[in-house]
């Protein structure tokens, strides 16, 4: 299993996402957004791939403005 990253539009939205990730019990780490994943907010939330469904639920619950999910695949972050 690999790691995933959730990228949101703004810092505000990323911090709001943290609350909903916590509520859905998704263990995550705020990380600097890897280069090439859009120039919006500089932080992103990193979590284990097996948490992806719960992460999607958090996004839906919070009505979060998600930019994209990415999976670390073959040495690069691939959009999913």
């Amino acid at each position: 299993m690999s790691d995933c990253i959730a990228v949101f539009e703004t810092t505000h939205e990323t911090l709001r996402a943290e609350e909903f990730f916590r509520a859905q019990k998704v263990p995550f780490r705020p990380v600097l957004r890897p280069r090439g994943l859009g120039a919006s907010c500089r932080m992103a939330l990193r979590f284990a791939e097996e948490e992806l469904e719960k992460a999607r639920k958090a996004v839906a619950e919070g009505n979060l403005v998600l930019k994209s999910f990415h999976r670390f695949d073959g040495g690069a972050w691939v959009k999913i």
Partner: protein, 373 residues
């Protein structure tokens, strides 16, 4: 000194407000939205938490539509210039402050005034007759900073029939409960009833409102685009934010929240009623405050017959150590309506931290001044 100018800015501020400001300045330091290191993250969090608190405080459903500004004047400028252009039409209600009059004059929409002195019912039919197809906003002073006239927002919102409401809450934020409707633009100062420091204001708006930015610049986001970011709050928050001021505002809102807005109102109103009753017994003193208690906030104006208001305020200060503001209070039209133009009035504006003894001293001082005149 006895400070009775809460309508200008509140004083004193609770110690937690001083501490929050110092904490941001001394212990956080970093610029929110600009870095990924620990202190920048802490700055982000401070901003985020204060924004969420402000959203709760003003009943705003979407906290990304709550932005921090340099003050209520800036909030009003951002609201009016962000919504309107020349050729539009607006209806203006309540006794407007220059913070509304001047931005409207700068933008140049056609203006219809809905005058109402708080007597009798709000006349929704008469109001509706002013609405036109090109009416882009109804601008309302929630409460006058001159005579305390409180405008009935719910009735106005119904009568506006979907036209956005721009609400000047300079005198009501932290004093009267305010809920941001989906077509409302709420403009509030941080330094008056929210007990924060000067230099911070709030602009909260509903999901049916889109505001064009008046000022653009770096936001630390969407940096590849030359245009303003598409997403709130970044769209309306260019440049470095006043984090110490925002931290102080957060502490202020927590303090107000702990007391309860209704309790703040009650305490200030008791002081104002007491002062009004005593002043009304002094010969030559005239009070400007709506007769209907439901139509007023705890501040009022008064004049002393035969005495220029500035002279009266000067005597209060010099001989009695009492701080009251006098003159036109940046609200010309209010004085025209009240018949106090051009000299204006003296204003009694108690704060939550005033005590009944302050009213005793104030009433005795006005009595003395009126006798000597």
């Amino acid at each position: 000194m006895i400070y009775l100018d809460d309508a200008s800015t509140s004083f004193p501020k609770p110690p937690s407000v001083h501490e929050a400001m110092l904490h941001a300045l001394r212990d956080v330091g970093a610029n929110p939205g600009r870095g990924g290191y620990a202190s920048a993250r802490e700055a982000d969090r401070l901003l985020y938490e204060t924004r969420s608190l402000a959203a709760d405080f003003f009943g705003a459903a979407d906290s990304s539509r709550v932005v921090f500004t340099p003050g209520c004047t800036y909030s009003l400028n951002m609201a009016l210039k962000g919504l309107l252009k020349a050729g539009d039409h607006v209806v203006v209600c309540g006794r407007q402050h220059n913070a509304v009059v001047r931005p409207l004059a700068a933008v140049g929409p056609a203006v219809s005034n809905f005058d109402w002195d708080g007597r009798g019912q709000f006349d929704a039919k008469a109001f509706s007759r002013l609405l036109r197809p090109e009416t882009k906003a109804v601008v309302v002073n929630h409460a006058s900073n001159v005579d305390g006239l409180l405008f009935p927002l719910d009735e106005l919102r119904d009568a506006a029939n979907g036209v956005p409401l721009v609400i000047d809450c300079a005198q009501t934020a932290g004093v009267v409960e305010i809920r941001t409707g989906e077509r409302d633009v709420v403009c509030a100062p941080g330094h008056k009833g929210l007990w924060g420091s000067a230099g911070v204001g709030i602009l909260a708006f509903g999901k049916k409102i889109e505001l064009e930015p008046v000022v653009v610049g770096g936001t630390g986001s969407f940096s590849e685009d030359a245009g303003a970011p598409p997403a709130y709050p970044d769209r309306l928050e260019p440049g470095t934010m006043n984090l110490p001021g925002i931290a102080a505002l957060g502490a202020g809102m927590r303090e107000v929240g702990a007391v309860g807005v209704a309790n703040v109102f009650r305490k200030k109103m008791a002081l104002a009623l007491d002062a009004c009753e005593r002043l009304s017994k002094i010969r030559g003193v005239k009070i400007y405050w709506p007769a209907d208690e439901a139509r007023r906030v705890p501040l009022f104006s008064f004049t002393v017959e035969g005495l220029d208001p500035s002279e009266a305020a000067d005597l209060l200060d010099r001989d009695h150590g009492i701080a009251c503001r006098s003159g036109l209070h940046c609200a010309l039209r209010a004085h025209v309506e009240l018949g106090t133009f051009p000299v204006g009035t003296v204003r009694f504006a108690p704060g939550y931290f005033n005590v009944p003894g302050d009213v005793d001293a104030f009433a005795a001082a006005v009595g003395e001044i009126a006798k000597k005149r």
